[in-house]
Amino acid sequence: MRIIKHKTNIDFIGKRKIAVYISSLVNLAILVGIATVGFNYGVDFAGGTVVELKFNHSISAAEVRKRAEDGGLHDVSVQNIGSADENTFLLRMGGVTQLTEENAEKAKAAINGLGNVRNVYPDMNNGIINFRSATALTPDVIKQAVEATGTGVQEVRTLGEAQGGGFDYQVVASGMADKVRASLSKGTAAPDFQERRVDYVGPQVGKQLRNKGIAALLYAMIAILIYVAFRFDFKFGPGALLAMLHDVVMVAGFYLVSRREFNLTAIAALLTIIGYSVNDTIVIYDRIREDMGKYKGKPLPEVINIAVNDTLARTLLTSLVTALSLVGLLIFGVGEIWDFAMAMLVGILVGTYSSVYIASPLTIWLDERAAAREGRAKGGMKAKTA
């Protein structure tokens, strides 16, 4: 059985200018979108708390949100996941601890009311308040005072006596997940839901993870580029790199436009795409190299067109097979895994396109420029073919 004939003769090279223009425009639009609108960062990178709840009766997302708000939980996004009859929801909150800007002010006032207190420093990132009191206080008193303002307290630590007189204390606020449980079970005898998953990432950790992710993408591109430059002629490098960048930006565009959460799994998808994108390109480059030896004398654009046509069947088929393997994940995957499979699918599609329309034509363009420069220097013009 054959879907694609071997002797196709499509003029890919002739259409290269249009393709490059369109791709550049789309890429530019995505980059502008990332800079202005930005990704929908998941907790991995933005910090915050995600709780997955499964209710044991049917309930809508709006009802869950209303219950949370009635229980004193504001700024929460509720999203239904899985099929509707699973009654499973993701609750996402920006804060990690209950110490929000608003709560911190109230708590600060309460602590100041405890007596001769100074240096009250709330630290929203870590959910702690440090302060120094002239007289010794008991943790219970501090805890009661802060909790009365609506901030749950996990613990009050005594940090000992200070040199200049006074006693140091640290109030540690409870996590958001506790608040979810408390506010949703308000008014019900027993909780009618089950906490299935809690993801909680502090803002500093989130920042670290994001920087590491971006660094990983850069390292991967550089390492692959070095390999391609080492294995192939150096003039193939820029083409492979631009095709790679093109694919990564396109997949990033998928996350940008679909508003799917951009998180660690997304970074994994982008990295895999970087590796895979070069796959298709290499298949064609290999053939170009082979044909350059075979058709000595023919101009490079023609050789490339022959190579692209000859490898068209395998370029399309390998992509098709890899895409087929993702079908199961697209049917049964939920959440991050579905996003991953979808991103991979997008990556495979644009990767195939870019190998044909971006990577190969760029090689011609670079070759022409090199020839032109050489020509200017020597005063003659002859296309270099090998």
Binding site: R197, V201, G202, V205, G275
Partner: protein, 591 residues
């Protein structure tokens, strides 16, 4: 069929058998055993036949699939450093004014810049003070001097060392606390410079996890009751311990102790057998190889009274004594010094237990009354230890003492908790997704390439088994992204066969014979496949190095899968194809 072919064929058969053999522990633990028992390596080993590979080589399920808690704790070294600088400032001022009588000074700490500002009452004394202070307190360097004002800051290397120590202390405390829950396969490790990563498989109660960062470590000094040295020996003679608890008597320093591998069993046994006002506390005998594990526990009978706590402790340092033996020097604050003097005076000849979070860390004997607020703890006999190990004991003890004295606050950086029920659902959905993906690929290959496609399918199945076996061999964990990686790798593996088969078709179109077409198809496609695999491998390795948790599971699967694919899609399919083309002198090849 030539010799080379038979060699290759033999190797493939051997690899296949080896793969199946390697998968036995994985099969037993994942299919035959209850989820609760899987993590217990001893129980898995029991179920394995003698000829199977050790239970160690099995595929573990990641925390996201079996349920559990993954936590990253951040040690707030900044706060600890501020506290320490403040304390040191106090000591320096006291040393100048009281010990050396160099003149009156006031000291002020800048917590942001970590600087001490000393101001002399009489500016004339400052020159002498500066000289003496810099010569004695070498952990500080001069920032500026302006008349009667001297600004100091802690030495960089001291700051780094202190930060490392703070993280070590926090790890010690966390290990102590988790050990009390009896988690089978916990993993506590340092992450970067200021974080600690903890994995608790099978646990799903974040409340309990928070206990870890809850209170600061409790360091106590309590007297050991040695009025009856044979106390534990007699107990064991009166009531024999329950069958299988492995409780025995050990006697190393003339004080018999009970020893047992199980904390709960030991505590249950001594319960209700302790006199009024006394309590049995345990010492953890650490595994010399894996420091985070307690190999066994030993008992101490101690007084319930706590005369002195770590709050009164000012510093603790490991040193080498004049007679060239390791020791720990400790100093108490004014209140502690008085209490310590009273305590040691009343208890000469007795042992004092140093207790951190309810664990006895050592019980040195008090040789004489100790006044002045500073004491030396000698490290007993070296025994069979090397000097380094002996000195390390002293360092650990100093760390224990400091953990109670100078706690660095610990905050939660990251918690990821997955309930067991969700984990089970994810396994089901994940396996189903993998099966559907695999089936689609297999069907496509068989339909599109006929016999060659079927050969590729056989290689693909072997590839799947090889991935699982490889992961088991590396003791890797299977995560949800790992399953996605598995599926994707199978797709990429078949790519190689598509490349080969397309090349063979092309060669046939050029009018080559079946035999030539197959040989050239494989030879010419080889480097293309190799390059394509290497580029994806590069991405996989970078993901492995930078990723954590489930993402790392994805990277591992990808790497193992690509390596396996090089073998199955090139070597295995070629050997089988060659059999059909050469062996039967076929004129055609089915692609």
């Amino acid at each position: 069929m030539d010799r080379g072919w038979w060699w290759k064929f033999g190797m493939i058969v051997a690899v296949t058998l080896g793969t199946v053999w390697l998968l036995i522990p994985t099969y037993v633990s994942l299919v035959k055993m209850e989820p609760a028992e899987r993590n217990n390596i001893a129980k898995v080993q029991e179920r394995l036949p003698a000829w199977a590979p050790p239970a160690k080589y099995r595929l573990n399920l990641g925390l996201d699939l079996q349920g559990g808690i993954h936590m990253v704790m951040r040690v707030d070294t900044k706060t600890a450093l501020q506290k320490r600088t403040e304390r040191r400032g106090q000591q320096i001022a006291r040393w100048i004014t009281e010990d050396k009588k160099l003149g009156e000074v006031t000291v002020d700490t800048d917590p942001e810049k970590l600087q001490l500002t000393l101001v002399a009452k009489d500016p004339a004394t400052m020159d002498a003070i500066e000289k003496e202070v810099l010569a004695t307190f070498t952990d500080f360097t001069r920032v500026s001097r302006d008349g009667a004002k001297l600004v100091l800051s802690p030495d960089e290397s001291q700051v780094t060392r202190f930060e490392q120590e703070s993280v070590d202390q926090a790890m010690l405390v966390i290990r102590n606390r988790i050990d009390k829950w009896g988690v089978a396969e916990l993993d506590v490790r340092k992450l970067g410079t200021d974080s600690i990563q903890i994995s608790l498989p099978g646990r799903s109660d974040p409340e309990q996890a928070k206990e870890l960062v809850g209170t600061t470590a409790q360091l106590e000094f309590r007297m050991v009751d040695d009025t009856n040295p044979g106390f534990f020996q007699e107990m064991l003679q009166r009531t024999p311990p329950p069958e299988g608890s492995n409780i025995t008597v050990t006697d190393e320093d003339g004080f018999p102790q009970l020893s047992g591998p199980n904390r709960e069993a030991l505590l249950a046994y001594v319960k209700d057998k302790v006199p009024e006002g006394r309590e049995v506390l345990l010492e953890c005998m650490a595994n010399p190889v894996k420091k985070n594990d307690c190999l066994s526990y030993r008992t101490y009978l101690v007084q319930r009274d706590v005369p002195l706590t770590g709050e009164s402790l000012e510093s603790a340092n490991a040193n080498i004594s004049q007679i060239n033996e390791p020791e720990v020097n400790i100093t108490f604050d004014a209140v502690g010094a008085k209490e310590f003097e009273r305590l040691t005076e009343a208890s000469v000849g007795k042992r004092m237990a140093i207790v951190l979070d309810d664990y006895v860390h050592s019980a040195p004997r008090i040789n004489e009354k100790i006044g002045g607020g500073s004491a030396r703890i000698t490290m007993g006999r070296a025994g069979s230890k090397s000097f380094d190990e002996w000195f390390q004991d002293a360092q650990t003890l100093a760390l224990v003492l400091k953990a109670g004295a100078l706690p660095a606050p610990v905050t939660v950086g990251e918690i990821r908790q997955v309930g067991a029920s969700l984990g089970e659902e994810l396994i089901k959905k994940g396996s189903l997704a993998a099966l559907v993906g695999l089936l689609m690929v297999i069907l496509f290959m068989a339909v599109y390439y006929k016999k060659s496609g079927l050969i590729a399918d056989v290689a693909l199945l072997l590839n799947g088994l090889l991935i699982l076996a490889g992961l088991s061999l590396f003791n890797a964990t299977l995560t949800l992204p790992g399953i996605a990686g598995f599926v994707l790798t199978l797709g990429i593996a078949v790519d190689a066969n598509v490349l080969i088969n397309e090349r063979i078709r092309e060669e046939l179109d050029h009018g080559k014979t079946a035999r030539q077409a197959v040989d050239q198809g494989y030879d010419r496609a080889f480097w293309t496949i190799f390059d394509a695999h290497v580029t994806t491998l590069i991405a996989g390795f970078i993901l492995f190095v930078t990723g954590t948790g489930p993402i790392r599971g994805f990277a591992t699967t990808l790497i193992v899968g690509l390596l396996a694919s090089l073998f199955t899609s090139i070597v295995v399919t070629r050997v089988i194809t060659t059999y059909f083309v050469h062996g039967r002198n076929a004129q055609t090849v089915s692609v």
